[in-house]
C-alpha cells in the first residue's frame, strides 16, 4: 500500500485577516502558519493509522509551495510518514496546485491520495476532485470514515442531511473531514526523527493558471448588538419578526 497525503500551509485559525498591496495580497506579517487542519487532523492522521496497522505501508507527504512551507512539512513529518516531497511553486490557483499534485502522484503510483476537504484560507474544496480528474480516478469527497477492505475501501461520506457508505476500488482519491481520525500532538521522538526524514524538493511542471485573485476585502463591520432585557425576552421575538423580518 502506497499513500500520498497532500498538506497545505494555512494561517492559524485565530490569525488576524488583513490585506496588503492595495488589497491584492494576504498580509502575512506576524501570522503563525499551520498545517491546514483538515489535512493534518483527518487526512494525515488517518494515513498514519493505516501505516500503524500495516507497517509495510509507504506514506509520503506532499506540499505544493515555496520554501516557507518547510516548517509545516517538518511538523507533519513529526506526526508520521516516511518522507515528504515539496513541489517548489508559488501557490495561487487551484488548477495549478492540482496539476503539480497529479504529476507527483502519477510518478509515484499511489494506491490512495488523501487531501483535506478544503483549506481554511481559500475554502475551495477543489484540489481532490481536480487531482482525481487529472488522473482519471474515482473520488470520494467529505469522507468521515475510511477503512481498507479486500482490494478496495469502505468509505463513509457526508451528504446533505445525512451520510452515505460507499465501496470503492483503488487507486482512489479521498477528501477527509471530521470523523476520520482524532487530532494528534507530535511527541519528542517524532520531532527528533522528522529532522532526518527525507524532504525532496522537485521543480514545478509547466501549467496554465485558470484563475487569479483580483482583490480581497473584509465584510462590513456589524452595527453592534442590540441587547434585549432578559425579563422581557418576548421583545426579541417582536424585533426578529418586525425589524429583522427573519421569522
Amino acid at each position: 500500500m502506497k499513500i500520498l497525503v497532500c498538506i497545505s500551509k494555512t494561517p492559524d485559525t485565530t490569525a488576524k485577516i488583513a490585506f496588503s498591496d492595495n488589497n491584492t495580497k494576504f498580509a502575512a506579517d506576524g501570522v503563525q502558519w499551520i498545517i491546514n487542519p483538515y489535512d493534518e487532523w483527518y487526512a494525515l492522521v488517518r494515513a498514519i493509522e493505516i501505516k500503524e496497522t500495516d507497517p509495510s505501508t509507504v506514506l509520503h507527504l506532499l506540499n505544493v509551495g515555496n520554501a516557507e512551507s518547510e516548517p509545516i512539512i517538518r511538523k507533519a513529518l513529526a506526526l508520521g510518514g516516511d518522507e515528504a516531497i515539496r513541489v517548489n511553486c508559488d501557490v495561487n490557483d487551484s488548477f495549478t496546485i492540482a496539476s503539480q499534485i497529479a504529476a507527483v502522484a502519477k510518478e509515484g503510483n499511489y494506491d490512495l491520495i488523501f487531501t483535506g476537504k478544503e483549506t481554511i484560507d481559500y475554502n475551495g474544496s477543489s484540489i481532490g476532485g481536480m487531482v482525481a480528474e487529472l488522473l482519471d480516478l474515482p473520488y470520494i469527497s467529505h469522507a468521515t470514515k475510511f477503512n481498507l477492505e479486500g482490494n478496495g475501501a469502505i468509505v463513509v461520506r457526508e451528504i446533505e442531511g445525512g451520510e452515505e457508505t460507499d465501496k470503492a476500488t483503488l487507486p482512489l482519491v479521498v477528501s477527509c473531514q471530521k470523523g476520520m481520525a482524532e487530532q494528534r500532538i507530535p511527541n519528542m521522538k517524532g520531532i527528533m526523527g522528522a529532522r532526518t526524514k527525507p524532504l525532496k524538493v522537485v521543480e514545478a511542471v509547466a501549467t496554465d493558471a485558470y484563475t487569479s485573485v483580483v482583490s480581497f476585502d473584509l465584510p462590513p463591520a456589524k452595527a453592534g448588538v442590540k441587547l434585549v432585557d432578559p425579563e422581557n425576552a418576548e421583545e426579541l421575538v417582536r424585533l426578529l419578526n418586525e425589524e429583522a423580518k427573519a421569522i
Partner: protein
C-alpha cells in the same frame, strides 16, 4: 449559453439548486444569453416549473446508473452535454455534490472554477466572481481567464427571483460508464431540514449543561421550521450528533437567522456561522465574545429566557 446543474435528493430538486437556477438565469441575462438546465436520473418534480426561475430549457438524461450519484460519471455526462450545447458558463450549487463535481468539470472542460460564489459575476471588465474566503472572515474577487467558466454558488447567498413562464423539456442522450464506486447505503436524518440549506438555524452549546436539556433547542427550532445545530464541544462530548456541528472544522452555514443558545462564540465557531444574515446570541456571560458578532442579544439564563421566547413565537405563529 449558461447551463445550470440541478442537484437532486431522492428524486427531488434541492432548494440550493433553485437558487443556482435563478442565479444562472441572471448571469445569462447579464451576458445576453439564455439559461438552460441539466438534470441527471429520474425526477419526481415538475421540471417545466423551472421556467419560473428563468430557465428556458431543461435537459434530462435518464439512465438507471444516474439515479445514484457518482462524481466521475456525473462529470462525464455534464461535460459532454456542456460541450454539445456550447455552454459558456456552468453553474452548480456549492453543496457536497457540487463540491465533488465542479473541480472535475473544471479539469475536463479546461474551465476556471470559482467555488463558493456569493454574488453575481462582474462582467464589466473580464469575468470576476466574488467568493467567501478565510472561513467567512473575508471575500475575494477571483478573475477567471478561461473561455468556459464554472461557478459553484454557496447555498443561501442568492435570493431567488421568480420571472414566470414554463421551461421546455428535452431528453438528452449520453454515454454513461459503469460506476467504480458502489453506494452501499444511505442514512438520512428524515424529516429534518438539511442544515446547510436551512433558512433558520437554532444552535446550542455547553451552556445548556446536558443533552437532556435539548428540548429547548428542538422545540424552538420546530416552531420556527428551523434546523438544529451545535458547537464543537457539544458534538465532541456526544451530546449531539457530529453532523450538527457548525464551525471551522464542522459545517459552515449561512442561514437567514442563526440563534445561538449557550455558545460563547470562539473564533472557530464564528468561522462557521459568520455569514448568517441575522445572528441572535443568548448567553448568561455578558463577556461572551459572540455578542460582538451578534445583531441581537440577551444576557440571561437560557433556561429562563428560551421558554419565554418559545411562548412569544407560539403567539405570533398562532400556535396554542
Amino acid at each position: 449559453m449558461v447551463l445550470v446543474f440541478l442537484d437532486q435528493s431522492e428524486g427531488q430538486i434541492k432548494k440550493a439548486s433553485y437558487e443556482a437556477a435563478s442565479y444562472a438565469a441572471k448571469v445569462a441575462e447579464q451576458l445576453g444569453k439564455s439559461a438552460e438546465a441539466i438534470i441527471l436520473g429520474s425526477s419526481k418534480d415538475d421540471l417545466s416549473a423551472l421556467g419560473k426561475y428563468g430557465i428556458k430549457k431543461v435537459h434530462t438524461v435518464s439512465n438507471d446508473t444516474l439515479n445514484q450519484f457518482d462524481a466521475q460519471i456525473y462529470t462525464k455526462v455534464i461535460a459532454e452535454a456542456a460541450s454539445s450545447l456550447n455552454a459558456e458558463v456552468i453553474v452548480l450549487s456549492n453543496t457536497t455534490t457540487g463540491k465533488a463535481i465542479a473541480p472535475r468539470l473544471s479539469v475536463r472542460l479546461k474551465a476556471g472554477l470559482v467555488s463558493g460564489a456569493v454574488a453575481l459575476p462582474d462582467t464589466s471588465n473580464g469575468f470576476t466572481v466574488r467568493k467567501s474566503v478565510f472561513s467567512g472572515k473575508a471575500y475575494a474577487n477571483i478573475g477567471i481567464s478561461t473561455s468556459i467558466k464554472i461557478i459553484s454558488l454557496n447555498p443561501n447567498s442568492f435570493t431567488i427571483v421568480e420571472v414566470g413562464g414554463n421551461a421546455e423539456i428535452a431528453a438528452l442522450s449520453a454515454t454513461v460508464d459503469a460506476p467504480k464506486i458502489e453506494v452501499v447505503s444511505v442514512n438520512k436524518v428524515s424529516g429534518d431540514v438539511p442544515l446547510s440549506e436551512a433558512d433558520i438555524v437554532v444552535s446550542g452549546g455547553r451552556g445548556l449543561k446536558g443533552p437532556e436539556n435539548w428540548g429547548l433547542v428542538t422545540e424552538l427550532a420546530g416552531l420556527l421550521g428551523a434546523a438544529t445545530a451545535c458547537s464543537r464541544p457539544v458534538a465532541d462530548i456526544h451530546w449531539r450528533p457530529h453532523h450538527e456541528h457548525v464551525g471551522q472544522t464542522g459545517l459552515a452555514i449561512a442561514p437567514n437567522l442563526y440563534i445561538a443558545i449557550g455558545i460563547s462564540g470562539a473564533i472557530q465557531h464564528l468561522a462557521g456561522v459568520n455569514r448568517s444574515k441575522t445572528i441572535v446570541v443568548i448567553n448568561k456571560d455578558p463577556e461572551a465574545p459572540f455578542f460582538k458578532a451578534a445583531d441581537y442579544g440577551i444576557v440571561g439564563d437560557a433556561f429562563e429566557v428560551v421558554p419565554k421566547i418559545i411562548n412569544a413565537v407560539k403567539k405570533i405563529k398562532g400556535v396554542a
